[in-house]
């Protein structure tokens, strides 16, 4: 979204006030807020846009601070450039292996890296001055109002650039990459390059922020690489809004301003800050900036997805789908063993079972994507088990796909398409996975319409409550066998269903 004039004023106000009316102490505070804002803006690229929990941003900030302190006597103001390189270069070196990791390992790896930097800061005394840190370098760096102007010019430029970049296609691409990496790849988005760029740019901003903080405080100690800086950075971004262009700025201003406002509370301001962050995570996931937008009514309401058709016309065709004694094995693994079931017109049948019990395989075999080793699949008397998928579809079996990789609107479109083909029977693979409560109710209502139109539905989903509400019957698969079938309440109470699941072996706790 393009920053509105409201946000532009909010953005420019602190430095202008600092330069015109505030005493030197106030200027210092505003400079500090700007520094946190730069660090946070960099973090928004990684945490907000990539959705990766990077726990090394504090360490990168510290690297920048040390680099500035060490090179300032030689390079003068150019030490700031050295600081950016000092943070961005290591980030670029580790980015390759790091960005391949899944979320929890990514967090761990960045935390381990950060701990290494912190250890080095404390123990490499000849270079870093150990626990005492470094001092006496600040005269070579920009100070006072010059530093303030520099920090805020960088920050304002950064925020505007960020807003401009993520307003359009790039924002959509980032969204797609976060939520549906495989689909993004299918759309030709180079995930690796984009993640690398965001990570290194985020590191560069952290390095710059670290250098400016060294210039502001005049000393650098191992504390700047510590976990508390990291926590501050994370909380300010979450509090302000992880993706909103103004999120980092808002969070930073609060992080610096709150302790002043809550001076009577003394040490408790960090406590208040952490409580506020938790509250935001729980109740306003878009952050304070997003909340303010919502209250101002400035943000456009989220686009209404193309949605599901209101009217589902009846279709001609076969009256019954029969699956009789179907078996299928992959390699030596028996994926389906002698599975039989019926789906009539005007009936919704739910397929449940633990992960890997063969639910999706069964849908694939029925729809002709895979072929059964044994058994028969028929629409009335017309056998379809040997037909290729497109002929099965033409014979009257529509199919939607496991939608983990599809965003909400795409998912509705997939379902709408399956209905529009005029198939008498629909196979739905996890239509409710990952959708919100509102969409879930819409889906339920839509499924009822599909049933009333006289179509037959076979549906796989993890949301057993939803299945129990919409399905006429449930079938439970366990290791490829249908172990129970009947009304939802009966199947859920079935001893074999419970035992098959509770007896799940080979899975530690």
């Amino acid at each position: 979204m393009r920053p509105s004039s409201f946000w532009l004023i909010v953005l420019v106000l602190p430095p202008v006030m600092a330069l015109t009316v505030l005493p030197p102490f106030g200027q210092r505070m505003v400079t500090l807020a700007g520094i946190y804002g730069l660090m946070g803006l960099g973090y928004q690229l990684v945490f907000g846009q990539l959705g990766a929990l990077n726990l090394a941003q504090g360490a990168l900030f510290g690297l920048g601070a040390y680099a500035a302190a060490l090179t300032a006597p030689v390079l003068g103001p150019f030490a700031l450039i050295a600081a950016i390189v000092a943070a961005a270069l290591p980030a670029a070196l580790v980015a390759g292996p790091l960005l391949r990791l899944q979320s929890h390992y990514f967090a761990l790896a960045t935390l381990a890296l950060a701990s290494l930097v912190n250890l080095a800061a404390v123990h490499a005394e000849s270079l870093t001055g150990g626990a005492n840190g470094l001092a006496g370098f600040a005269t070579a760096l920009p100070r006072g109002p010059v530093l303030l102007v520099m920090v805020w010019v960088c920050l304002i430029a950064g925020v505007l650039l960020y807003a401009w970049l993520f307003e359009g296609t790039l924002g959509k691409k980032a969204h797609l990459l976060r939520d549906a990496p495989l689909l993004a790849a299918a759309h030709g988005i180079d995930a690796a390059a984009w993640r690398f760029t965001a990570f290194v740019a985020g590191a560069a901003l952290a390095g710059l922020a670290g250098a400016c903080s060294a210039a502001l405080s005049g000393v650098v100690s191992p504390d700047v690489t510590g976990f508390s800086v990291m926590v501050l950075c994370l909380t300010l971004v979450v509090l302000g809004g992880a993706r909103h262009p103004m999120g980092a700025v808002l969070g930073a201003v609060l992080a610096v301003g709150l302790p002043e406002l809550l001076r009577e509370l003394q040490g408790a301001w960090l406590l208040a800050y952490a409580v506020a962050t938790l509250a935001v995570v729980l109740w306003a996931p878009e952050g304070l900036a997003g909340l303010i937008d919502r209250l101002r009514g400035a943000r456009r309401p989220p686009p209404v997805p193309p949605g599901l058709p209101d009217i589902v016309p009846p279709v001609p065709g076969a009256q019954r789908l029969t699956v009789d004694g179907v078996s299928k094995s992959f390699g030596g693994v028996q994926a389906l063993a002698d599975v039989s079931l019926l789906v009539d017109r005007g009936e919704i049948v739910g397929l449940i079972g633990p992960n890997g019990s063969g639910k999706t395989t069964l849908l694939n075999v029925i729809s002709g994507l895979d072929h059964a080793d044994e058994g028969a699949i028929a629409l009335d008397d017309h056998r379809v088990e040997g037909l290729p998928a497109h002929r099965v579809a033409r014979a009257g079996i529509g199919r939607t796909f496991q939608a983990l990789e599809l965003a909400g609107d795409t998912r509705s479109a997939d379902l709408a398409r399956a209905v529009a083909t005029g198939a008498a029977f629909l196979l739905l693979d996890e239509p409710a996975a990952g959708i919100g409560d509102g969409e879930r109710r819409a889906l339920e209502a839509f499924l009822a319409k599909v049933r009333d139109s006289g179509r037959g539905v076979l549906i796989v989903d993890h949301d057993i409550e939803l299945l129990s509400r919409v399905c006429d019957r449930l079938v439970c698969l366990d290791r490829g066998r249908a172990i129970a079938a009947g009304r939802p309440a009966e199947v859920r109470a079935d001893a074999r269903v419970r035992a098959s699941f509770l007896g799940l072996d080979g899975v530690a706790a």
Binding site: A274, L282, P354
Partner: protein, 276 residues
């Protein structure tokens, strides 16, 4: 052995919540602090203090589940990460205020001093830690493997949708797992609090070691976490004896990074899909 308790609690919470509990280390510290304060207040002998501390931190675990984990069950794991990091900060800051920044010592479990067994000098406190630790690990193993409650806890961890399908009240078992996790953390904090001082800022360190133990031992595996924790303990003891504490920590972090770089899916892979 105390690491093993920390890691055991961590992995229980991990499996129940489906996400890393970044506040786990702070629950450990809280256990140490509770031992300090309740001990000074009631003047009870340590052996009675232990269950009280376990109960108190178990209740904190329940609060953590209700506040930071259950409400976020349908959001991406990062939301739980951030919520528990905020919770960790809340605990740390509260403790900083309560303890006025000064580290304290928790009461010892079995008195100080040492005695000789077969020519080996054994400290009473380390021995007590090993005994209590082994008893608790055995108790948790029995609970998970041989009781209905434990099987249901494992079921919730394996697939919460299926667990709900067969009528297990999932939320209750998540809360129960977190209570157990908290109690273990509290006991670990008590045991560690006598050997090392209790300081509010230690939480991140405890959490990181448990995290590493679980990552090395196989994500989500209970025996793996215990082995990982024992491995870390032995590794640290030997390296720090040879080269000092700083190198021991550095070597540990480098080892973890090397493992992650070479085997991005974890040392032993993951048994059931993704469970970030």
């Amino acid at each position: 052995m105390a690491y093993a308790l920390v890691a055991l609690g961590f992995v229980l919470a991990l499996n129940a919540a489906g996400a890393v509990n970044f506040a786990h280390g702070d629950l450990v510290v809280l256990g140490g602090a509770a031992a300090v304060f309740i001990g000074a207040w009631l003047g009870l002998p340590s052996i009675l203090l232990l269950p009280i501390v376990a109960l108190a931190i178990g209740i904190v675990g329940i609060v953590a589940a209700r506040v930071a984990i259950l409400p976020l069950a349908n959001r991406p794991p990062e939301a739980t990460f951030v919520a528990t990091i905020a919770l960790a900060a809340i605990i740390e800051q509260s403790l900083t205020i309560a303890m006025a920044g000064a580290p304290r010592t928790a009461p010892s479990l079995a008195g100080s001093g040492s005695f000789e067994i077969a020519g080996l000098v054994v400290g009473r406190q380390p021995l007590a830690i090993v005994v209590v630790g082994a008893l608790l690990v055995a108790a948790v193993w029995f609970l998970l493997e041989h009781t209905q409650i434990g099987r249901r806890m494992r079921a919730v961890a394996a697939d919460r949708h299926m667990a709900r399908a067969v009528g297990i009240p999932v939320a209750r078992y998540v809360v129960l797992s977190l209570a157990l996790s908290g109690a273990l953390a509290g006991i670990a904090g008590f045991l560690l609090g006598h050997q090392f001082l209790v300081a509010p800022t230690q939480g991140a360190g405890h959490m990181l070691k448990a995290y590493i133990a679980v990552a090395l031992g196989g994500w989500g595996s209970v025996p793996g976490a215990l082995l990982g924790a024992l491995g870390i303990g032995i590794f640290e003891t030997f390296v720090s004896a040879g080269f000092g504490d700083a190198w021991a920590s550095a070597a540990l972090y480098i080892a973890v990074l090397a493992v992650l770089a070479l085997r991005p899916q974890g040392l032993f892979g993951e048994p059931v899909g993704r469970r970030a």
